[in-house]
């Protein structure tokens, strides 16, 4: 018998109307990096929640070192040495790094906090594993990468032996990803066992020893990473072949559609401006990508561009028309479509049905209303048309509550709505965030189709692969400024990463020349 530290045997977990985990078996060897791969809704998170004690399975058992264990809550999991870095960090923003690490296991004497003891342990751990953090910085002041190190230190501080990483690389720069993967390898070499949840096949190929694949709540199989290929993994995950290279022909861009000049936007959180004098053009028939690490002013810039926030200074024109001060509705009717960054906050009214969401940008048009009364039959017809054309899948068709749809189909609904509306410029902000390869492939196709139809596309993305594959031109944003303009054909991911992290920047003159 092999040395399995954790065995999850025949786990079945049902929710009303859905079997999230159907007879899933996962075996984790001591000292290995085990990747868990699957589309959204495949049941990865549910399975990890079962392991972490957040859910109780209907069937199946968990064994540790061959002994059955019962994990009723996260405290039990912690006591068994299971730790988890969640996708959305569980940190107290206004506490220091040290305070966050000891939160819940504070060393104390008679109720008085013994910080020095804790600090020594944290410093020792951070030196040992090369997790550089300042124990006294506030969480809100440090970068996302550092916040993640704090989460990792939390697990180490609790002497966890089984480490779960839930999509840890989504928020990191290429350099940071490299460091993280190195650190993970270090843990494994030391005998810690790692469960690594990810969508990214490259990372699996790089660090994982074995990979288990889930699809639609079912266990598909476990493979030795050395004996497999990316293509095979994606086929196991999606159930069909996926093309990784984005097929697109070269196009000659046409007239300028969007022209942005010296746009400056104030920050809501600090006194500095979050966007400082940004200028660029987007032409018809090209995809311009605004790349950068999250939090470098892209969100604020897009809000100013789409009218959700006011500019401090600068001007924006769309198809030759000045829209600097135009309302959101005016921008929309002037030809701007916007796939928002946060589909739940801005993109959808989750309590509305799918059809009501599909007309969100055009319910006021004569096609859908007569003297203020909504034409429900027209709305239904239109929704059915879009559902068919864009292959939006949902439980009850047009009347499905948007809330009950999967993330990928919610995004498809938004894309359908924004693309079907008359537009000259499509602003797509992280359109593939949190989606699986099948949906990503679909969305990339749609973006390129828009370009080929002669529309201007401004893509804001944090995903390097997306930036490199989809765009015709890359603008890198760092601390609210555009620090470089790159051609995806002649640049490398490494170079892009240097610009994104602020290590390299062109002077404004060079950028202008390049453009």
């Amino acid at each position: 018998m092999e040395n399995y530290i954790i065995e999850m045997l025949n786990i079945t977990k049902e929710f009303p109307g859905i079997v999230a985990n159907d007879d899933i078996t996962l075996r984790l060897k001591k000292g290995e990096i085990h990747a868990l791969l699957g589309e959204n809704g495949a049941g990865k998170s549910t399975l990890m929640s079962v392991l972490f004690g957040l859910y109780q399975p209907e069937k199946g058992e968990i064994r540790m070192n061959g002994q059955p264990v019962k994990i009723n809550n996260p405290n039990d999991a912690n006591a068994l040495g299971i730790g988890m870095v969640h996708q959305h960090f569980k940190l107290v923003e206004i506490f220091t790094v040290l305070e966050n690490i000891i939160l819940g296991v504070e060393p104390n004497k008679m109720g008085f906090l013994q910080k020095q003891e804790a600090r020594d342990k944290v410093v020792a751990l951070s030196e040992k594993y090369g997790l550089k953090v300042d124990p006294d910085s506030l969480i809100e002041d440090i970068t996302v990468g550092m916040q993640q190190r704090v989460e990792i230190l939390k697990m180490l501080y609790r002497d966890n032996e089984i480490l779960i990483f839930d999509e840890p690389t989504a928020v990191l720069t290429p350099q940071e990803i490299k460091e993280l993967l190195q650190i993970m390898k270090g843990f494994a070499a030391e005998g810690k066992s790692i469960l690594f949840i990810t969508h990214k096949l490259n990372e699996i190929m790089e660090v994982a020893d074995r990979c288990s694949v889930l699809r639609k709540g079912k266990y598909i199989g476990t493979v030795e990473v050395q004996e497999t290929t990316k293509e095979e993994l994606s086929r196991m995950m999606v159930g069909r072949d996926i093309s990784f290279s984005v097929d697109k022909e070269d196009r000659n861009p046409g007239d300028v559609v969007l022209s942005v000049r010296d746009v400056t936007v104030a920050s809501k959180t600090h006194k500095n401006n979050s966007v400082k004098g940004v200028s660029f053009d987007v032409r018809a028939g090209e995809i311009v990508c605004l790349a950068g690490i999250d939090g470098n002013g892209q969100t604020e810039f897009v809000h100013a561009l789409t009218g959700l926030e006011k500019l401090v200074s600068g001007s924006i024109s769309l198809c030759g028309k000045d829209i600097t001060k135009a309302s959101i509705r005016e921008r929309s009717t002037s030809g701007m479509s916007h796939i928002p960054e946060d589909r739940h906050k801005h993109g959808l009214v989750l309590d509305y049905s799918l059809e009501e969401n599909l007309v969100l940008q055009r319910y006021w048009q004569p096609q859908f209303q007569n003297k203020g009364f909504i034409k429900f039959d027209e709305m239904r017809k239109y929704a059915e048309k879009l559902i068919e054309k864009f292959d939006i899948r949902s439980g009850q068709g047009p009347v499905t509550p948007a809330r009950s749809m999967s993330g990928g189909n919610q995004q498809k609904a938004i894309i359908a709505r924004e693309i079907d509306k008359d537009h000259e410029l499509l602003v797509a902000v992280q359109p593939t965030r949190g989606l699986d390869v099948g949906a990503i492939e679909y969305i990339h196709k749609q973006l390129i189709e828009r370009r080929d139809a002669g529309k201007a596309v401004l893509l804001v993305s944090l995903e390097l692969e997306e930036v490199m594959n989809v765009s015709d031109r890359i603008l890198v944003m760092y601390e609210g400024e555009i620090v470089g303009e790159l051609d995806p054909k002649s640049t490398t991911v490494q170079e892009l990463g240097l610009y994104m992290s602020g290590a390299k920047r062109d002077t404004p003159k060079e950028i202008k020349n390049a453009g």
């Binding site: 009303p16 109307g17 509705r329 801005h346 993109g347 009214v349 909504i374 429900f376």
Partner: protein, 393 residues
């Protein structure tokens, strides 16, 4: 086995249709609130005076039946304030100022009733419209504060309850036509200003209830069928998405608050313009610095009706019904406050029931759902239709 299953499965599909209706869980939650509230109310009565509890509780439950006219009469103002609270709530605004709007509406109606001289029915119609305008004004101001300066509408509308009440009391006391200082109340309105009675003997029920129900239905249509309703609900559900879609949030806030105020103002007008059963008299207002309770009752009505206009009609009627019964319980020695406690408990449970409704509705659904898989446990599903039918009664 198969044959046996046929009819229950058909039944089950029908029930499923009902349980999947969006209003179903609101309905079950209101029902549950009422049942739990009544049970608790019975215990309160039992504790207060055990010997009379059964007789008293019978009055609470059945007493309203003998006074249907009064049930409708007293339902009128709370229905209007309920609609006022519920309508604003659909947009995510908590209009706690229905009292002030109600009082302003009443004052405007009184003013037109006393000071204007219009021919025949014009008089009471003009007074009703004036009431609406008065309420609108009092809803509009917090709406403008909210829209333009982002001042929380809860705070402004609470303040406007007091401002409205003191202002009205001052204005009435200073007007010798309207006010009889020796009796500390307003003068009797001329009968031409009173809304025509529906002619049910022993009750003041009048056209007001018909208007109120019509307003409820109109609001339902506005909310469900118009682009304005679409925008309003979208803003209430997710104001960020509404903004993203280019809806004019600020204008909509102001319009919504004005409409809500107008509804509460109508409630005030309907209350003060109601006909009196005693010839030569009328409803009167006592300017004694008390906030109108009907405004706050409107919050309860809206809550029990899940802010749905049609639901609000029924909840106003129900609360009025139980109140009538409650007053009758005093015949066996209960204080009318007991019934206020029972009503308060019902409202209290309706807040709970918002949470429990999911449990209740999904319980029914789950039992039906399980039958899908295990066809031979159809005994269960026969229980379910019965249960929910009982509930529906």
């Amino acid at each position: 086995m198969r044959d046996n299953n046929n009819s229950p499965i058909n039944q089950k599909i029908n029930i499923k249709k009902i349980t999947n209706l969006p209003g179903f869980s609101s309905f079950t939650s209101a029902l549950m609130a009422i049942v739990l509230g009544l049970i608790f109310g019975f215990f309160v009565m039992l504790a207060a005076a055990p010997a009379n509890a059964v007789a008293g509780f019978r009055y609470v439950l059945m007493g309203g039946l003998g006074r249907i006219g009064d049930v409708f009469y007293f339902a009128t103002p709370i229905l209007m304030t309920g609609l006022a609270v519920g309508f604003a709530f659909k947009m995510g605004l908590f209009n706690i100022g229905a009292s002030g709007q109600y009082t302003m509406g009443m004052f405007f109606a009184l003013y037109v009733g006393f000071m204007w001289d219009l021919p025949g029915a014009m008089q009471w119609i003009a007074a009703i419209i004036a009431g609406m305008v008065g309420g609108m004004l009092w809803g509009l101001i917090p709406g403008i504060f909210k829209a333009l300066m982002n001042v929380n509408e809860v705070i402004t509308s609470i303040m406007f309850n007091y401002i409205g009440m003191y202002l009205v009391d001052m204005l009435i006391q200073g007007n010798s036509v309207m006010y009889i200082s020796t009796k500390t109340r307003t003068n009797y309105l001329p009968s031409t200003v009173q809304i025509p009675s529906l002619g049910i003997p022993g009750s003041n029920v009048n056209l007001g209830i018909i208007f109120a129900i019509i307003f409820g239905v109109i609001l339902y249509i506005v909310l469900q069928k118009t682009t304005f309703g679409y925008e309003l609900k979208a803003t209430g559900f997710n104001k960020y998405a509404a903004e993203y879609a280019g809806m004019k949030g600020k204008t909509n806030i102001i319009i919504t608050m004005a409409i809500a105020g107008g509804l509460a103002g109508l409630g005030g007008a309907f209350a003060i313009l109601a006909p009196s059963a005693i010839a030569g008299s009328s409803m009167t207002y006592e300017p004694v610095n008390i906030i109108a309770a009907n405004g706050f009752n409107g919050i309860a009505v809206a809550l029990l009706g899940s802010a749905h206009p049609i639901g609000t009609i029924f909840s106003a009627l129900f609360i009025s019904y139980i109140q009538r019964g409650g007053t009758l319980a005093s015949l066996v020695g209960y204080k009318p406050e007991i019934i206020d406690i029972v009503i308060a408990v019902i409202i209290y449970f309706s807040a709970f029931a918002m949470i429990m409704n999911h449990a209740a509705a999904s319980f029914v659904k789950k039992r039906l759902g399980k039958v899908d898989k295990a066809a031979d446990t159809f005994a269960l599903q026969e229980d379910d239709p019965n249960n929910s039918e009982k509930g529906a009664e």
